[in-house]
Amino acid sequence: MSHHIVEVKQLRHVYPDGTEALRDVSFRIHHGESVAIIGANGAGKSTLLLHLNGYLPATSGTIRIGDHPLSKETLNEIRRTVGMVFQDPDDQLFMPTVFDDVAFGPLNQGLTPALIEQRVTDALERVEARELRNKPPYHLSGGEKKRVAIATVLSMLPEILVLDEPTAGLDPRARRQLMALLQDFHHTRIITSHDLDMVLELCERTIVLHQGMVMADGPTLEIFGNETLLAACHLEKPFSMQGCPVCSPKAIRRLPKPQPPLVPPHGDRQHDHAHHLHDHDHHDH
């Protein structure tokens, strides 16, 4: 089942106005991995995600989803494989009812009504939103919208789930529910977020982007242990690793000091990493 691999090679993207959002991004993600992509505002996270299902064309570099290199011919196939959830669910829920919205993808796949019905029911079941089925999306609360947005993607049976800042704006309980939902999804997940505590809980692997380049790629715990790296990328440790302000009351920290220069990861580091991290898996490389 090599078709669940996501491979990005020397990806570069320049926006029409000249902004070089991605300079040189390479990584390889295997089936079933849960990978976080983190970085400062403007690091290029959203831009990267939009390449994964071919919405933005690469200025140079290649993307492979499973057996298919991304190209015009494979675009539809790849969009079926990669399910993308945007940050703002209002962008994703555009049909008059939740049912229509969740059925939109399967309808475009040309399924029979009975099959569509089943897909919708299953997807809503997975996100615990059965009872919302006939409601119009604009009457839902923020957390409900988020769950339905995920259902719209699940109903297409994606093999890879891509989420852009899934927990933004949610209260702690809704965030927990969403995280539990993502934990139960057993295919590949690629998540960007500023919520590093969520990353710590959900993703075993983290890729750090900085100014359009991969600065680090490795096990999440290792990355969050490297304070120099984090500071250089405008990041900081997840709060749960920062030490309890109650127990160790240097509670109020100030701005990090100017950062020491950082050595970019050497050549193929991420590939090496992927190899030894996933020795146990059964993919052909």
Partner: protein, 268 residues
């Protein structure tokens, strides 16, 4: 800017009413749309001085209101909003048309007053029919019905999208207006110098949102064609509804029942 909240509230409330369950709610939307159209044509086809003859028509909105279990007070308030517009339109009639054409006991009524009142009554009737139609059918269903009745698909999709995003964008517009208002120290309107950029900002955001929606559609396999939704069956009950009401409307149109009734009561 509270007007924005009020406006949105009207939308939301009517939309929620349409999600109720009742015999009228279950009728095929096409039946309700067609009947409403017949109703409107009959009402507006009355002559300019006719008043009493139009009154039986209020049976239709009232019946739907009752059967659909809609809140009468709320619908009435929404319908009454049209009165100022109608009055504005009919205001000139009494000025220009002072022929006495109706004798009410000792009181001679000018044609102008009669036609002005007639304008108000027909405005109320047609507005009531439209609003009750939305409240027992729901806007998306009306769009689908119209599409099935021959409206171009592009236009139907446009209506649905517009409806969906009115909530989102009026909300955004409201927040921008609010931010401006809070910093403008009581100045009500704003000069063009500020107005242009402000709406320009809103427009840019609108545009970017449209781009993101388009992305979301593509991501779910959209290839430029909106697929047909499920079609309901137009059953015997629906046919009966359309024909029954239409027959009643035509009868009401041809015979002035209040006049006959009044004559009967007065024994003349």
């Amino acid at each position: 800017m509270l007007a924005i909240d009020g406006t949105l509230f009207d939308f939301k409330r009517l939309d929620l009413l349409a999600m109720r369950e009742s015999a009228v709610h279950r009728l095929d939307p096409r039946a309700k749309v067609l009947t409403t159209l017949v109703f409107i044509v009959c009402v507006v086809s009355f002559g300019r001085y006719e008043l009493a003859a139009m009154l039986p028509f209020c049976l239709f909105p009232i019946a739907l209101l009752a059967l659909g279990d809609l809140p009468a007070g709320y619908i009435a308030r929404k319908v009454l909003v049209v009165i100022p517009f109608a009055v504005m339109v009919g205001l000139f009639n009494p000025l220009f048309d002072r022929q006495v054409i109706l004798q009410l006991g000792p009181l001679g009524i000018w044609g102008g007053w009669l036609s002005c009142l007639s304008i108000v009554v027909r405005a109320l009737l047609t507005a009531a029919a439209a609003i009750v139609l939305v409240a027992v059918t729901g806007f998306p269903a009306i769009c689908v019905a119209l599409e099935q009745l021959g409206m171009p698909r592009v236009f139907a999709v446009q209506l649905l999208f517009l409806y969906r995003y009115i909530f989102v964008l009026t909300d955004e517009g409201g927040r921008v207006a609010r931010a401006r208002q809070l910093r403008s120290c009581g100045n009500k309107g704003m000069g063009l110098r500020h107005f242009g950029p402000l709406l320009g900002h809103l427009l840019l955001r609108t545009w970017e949102r449209a781009e993101r929606i388009h992305m979301a559609m593509l991501a779910r396999g959209f290839t430029g064609e909106m697929h047909a939704r499920r079609r309901g069956r137009f059953g015997a009950g629906d046919v009966l509804f359309v024909l029954g009401w239409s027959a009643l409307f035509v009868t009401f149109r041809l015979y002035n029942f209040p006049q006959l009734l009044g004559m009967l009561l007065l024994g003349s």
